[in-house]
Amino acid sequence: MLNCIIVDDETAARTIVSHLCSQVDELNVIDEFPNAMQAIKFLNKNEIDLIFLDIHMPDFTGFDFIDSLKNPPKIVLTTSDRDFAIEAFEYDCIVDYLVKPITLPRFLKAMQKVENFKSPVEQKTALPQEAKQEEASEKEMYVNIDRRLIKIEFDKIFLVEAKGDYVLIKTEGKNYTVHSTLKKIEEKLPDSLFLKIHRSYIINIKKIVDIEDNSVLIARDVIPISRSNRPELMKRLNLL
């Protein structure tokens, strides 16, 4: 049984999703919320398996809502916007993207995906060793820039810098500004190559030119090392 909630500012939308949920034995709708803030308060006290979430809500969008959750459960987006699909699938917790008005066959298809989907937390605990190695050996990631997915190879990255709501990815060929957080990028980068050395910087340790006092030289950039991250950096270096 999956305990779920519905978050949507439209009563008609909540009525429809609730009815669709009633058609699936495995779904148990615990509550419905007309805005994200009420849902956040609920989630602070209750554990939920699945959220049906509208993107387009006043004040606090569905994406803001997901960003505010520490360990988001599985999420199915329900929206009248067709334009956010690429952005949506940048989130590991998003299982499917349903465009309103939602039909029963499409809803059932989404529920099939929910059944087969493992949340990021489940993936970390359930991943067999072999798969973990495979994951570690991934060589690139894709970033969304102006609605295009651009491939960036990990070994070409010098560093990643936080810039407010964006991150700047500096690579051998080009620099990319991406709407994301350092935390999200950090999750994508392999630990074997990358290390966060400051709250605003993740570096590729293979690209270090030299280290002096509390800074590291990567290509032409001098990057500060925070006191708390320095021991881990020193541990990772092949010191004589």
Binding site: E10, T15, I16, S80, P101
Partner: protein
């Protein structure tokens, strides 16, 4: 002109008359409020806010089976965001038809 209908609601309900009544009741309550807000914003030339209203109304057009109306609402929402309203007349005539339709249910 495309006519509003109950095809989507009937298909969704699977014969559950209680649900049909409930959803129609919600649309009868919610849609006039959204239209009133939209009209107020258009009167004030608050196009960005009107685009938000059209966004919500768009879903209701889908619920009453207006596929072309839904597509028109998408285009209208986009142009309102850009401060234009060339599709207003066409969109408003759809709203009039829908209001008549839901009143008679």
């Amino acid at each position: 002109m495309e006519q509003p209908n109950l095809n989507y609601i009937k298909e969704l309900s699977g014969g559950d008359a209680g649900f049909e009544k409930k959803l129609i009741g919600v649309v009868q309550t919610e849609l006039p409020q959204e239209i009133a807000e939209y009209e107020g914003n258009m009167n004030d030339s608050a196009f960005a806010k009107a685009a938000e209203n059209v966004h919500k109304i768009k879903h209701k057009l889908g619920i009453v089976g207006l596929e072309k109306g839904y597509e028109l609402a998408i285009a209208y929402e986009d142009e309102l965001k850009e401060g234009k309203s060339t599709l207003k007349e066409e969109f408003d005539s759809i709203l009039t038809a829908v209001i008549h339709f839901i009143k008679d249910l």
